[in-house]
Amino acid sequence: MSRKITIEPVTRVEGHGKVTIHIDHEGNVTQTRLHIVEFRGFERFIQGRPYWEAPVLVERLCGICPVSHHLAAAKALDVIVGAGTGEGLTPTGEKMRRLMHYGQFFQSHALHFFHLASPDLLFGIDADPAIRNVIGVALKHKDLAVQGVLMRKFGQEIIKATAGKKIHGTGAIPGGINKNLSIEERDSFLKGPDPLNADKMVEWASGALDFFKTFHKGHKELIDNFSKFPSSHLSLVRKDGAMDLYHGVLRAIDSQGRKILNDVDYQEYTQYINEEVRPWSYMKFPYLTHLGETDGWYRVGPLARLNTCDFIPTPLAQKEFELFRAYTNGKPNNMCMHYHWARLIETLHAAEMIRQLLHDPDLHGNNLVTIGKKQKEGVGLIEAPRGTLFHHYRINDNDQIEMANLIVSTTNNNEPMNRAVNCVATSMMTGKKEITEGMMNAVEVAIRAYDPCLSCATHALGNMPLEISLYDQNNSLIDRKSK
């Protein structure tokens, strides 16, 4: 009997998706799909609005990474107000934005690792779901749970100080920033209250990385071979090849490390990136135009960023980067679970960057905004925690947005997530007569490694009940469970 298994929604990711797995009469997995079944309409909402509202409006896409949308929109509008493409801001304007951005990275990565991903590592993929969650972590590893909470809180406080509010702030404006950092604010982050200070955050970020590396040593089979497949990788890099999460040029490499997009200006991204539409998902499938729909897909996010950059410009993260790259003899790392490793190296880098920026006197300057000759069109690109984020706007003669295109990080990872689902389903479900909860969670684990934000990618509407449905070869419902 052929079967169709539905996992809906995927849990401990942001937003609502479902997975279908088709199994033929002989028990072979014949088709897998990650469906994004939410409606996306955000680009239409902002059409007709004054362009200067965009950085505040687009934050409403999501409550998890609003800062990334805020900054990507602001960067696009920097171009429109004639402030340049990321290098024309005042030192205070640029460094305040960077501090905000690294605060966002730090809190988002901490949230993902400690509270979404770590339960699978600590308790096992097929552990009882009743304990395989953050409360389980809190009960058995209280120190980790507390650190996760306070790291997230520290990042949120950085965001509040730079953006005005923890969520949906107003700090970045076209051409710069609307406030600097006071000495009192700086001191509060450098000195405490204990343990909420920059030194402690660097220490805890290092500790989280040590935790992962220790776990890796004892679970090499799981970490290295789970959902492993070759792919291309894309991210921003600084012009000298350094990791730069805020600004740079666009680089892509193939699975062997060869450059397939060589440090191009992202203002011209439409020459290099295209988006395919498939009828069974609201989320598009981006690809490198010159390689085509079949071969042009790529991964983004922490793993991609560590694969594309040449070095990390903070000392502790650089040391960890060298270990990471040495593990694959300098070749691109295509192991899905190594997203967690890469994410924790970035968490450490973000903590180091925050500490470094807090010592920079430019944060207290009063020259906040740059304006030049107005343009009709601008592109803002940023590395969001989940990957490369594109914002593209065109305005009319009345200063209204007449065109907006967003390619959000999770959309860039659409094809890789689909392949991850296929990889896990094929390896774990082929020939099996019974589909266990652990097998289904394994599919989610593969998706979760990408830290997708499906709301962000599509814009959520409605509630998100968990429902698992089983269909026979005629697509007739056999069983349905919900929780």
Binding site: T11, I64, L111, A138, V149, L150, R152, L466
Partner: protein
């Protein structure tokens, strides 16, 4: 562990009012609007023991924010079939935790606070009835009336937190 309303007059109770919701979805912003309005009243009345906060949604760090409070009152919009507003006691619960961070509940925050800090404040949820949830800003007139009633009601509570005992069941 806290959890008892302090009867002594010498030590004022530390109270947190925390409204959450999405002001870009009409009445979903009732919790945020509540905090905006009540904060001015608190300042006018000179009630230093009461802190306020407002956010888009609850998240894990709120477990830390509530840990040192005696009383916490979360304020949220409601789609439930209530008349105008309700105040209910919140008990810790780990339910819905396997979901995303978009759907963290007050009871989950209380439970997490208890698990990692071994304490929890006496916690209540003020639900205010809303009606429209489209993608635009502004509370509807009908919800505004409910909001006004809820504010008047809570002013009495804030002046006499001991009266919360009647909602302890």
């Amino acid at each position: 562990m806290t959890g008892k309303v302090n009867k002594g007059k010498e030590k004022p109770l530390k109270l947190l009012l925390y409204g959450y919701g999405n002001p870009g979805r009409q009445d979903d912003g009732l919790g945020n609007e509540f905090i905006y309005l009540i904060e001015r009243w608190i300042e006018k009345e000179g009630l230093p023991n009461i802190e306020v906060d407002s956010n888009y949604q609850l998240n894990i760090e709120d477990a830390d924010a509530i840990a040192n409070m005696d009383i916490v009152i979360f304020v949220d919009a409601s789609i439930e079939p209530i008349k105008d507003f309700t105040l209910t006691k919140v008990n810790p619960s780990a339910s819905r935790i396997e979901f995303t961070m978009h759907t963290v509940s007050a009871s989950f925050i209380l439970d997490l606070c208890h698990k990692i800090y071994e304490r929890y404040p006496e916690t209540y949820l003020l639900h205010i009835k809303g009606y429209e949830w489209e993608f635009k800003e502004g509370i509807t007139d009908a919800a505004q009336k409910n909001l006004d009633k809820a504010i008047d009601f809570l002013k009495g509570i804030l002046k006499n937190p001991q009266s919360l005992k009647r909602y302890n069941t």
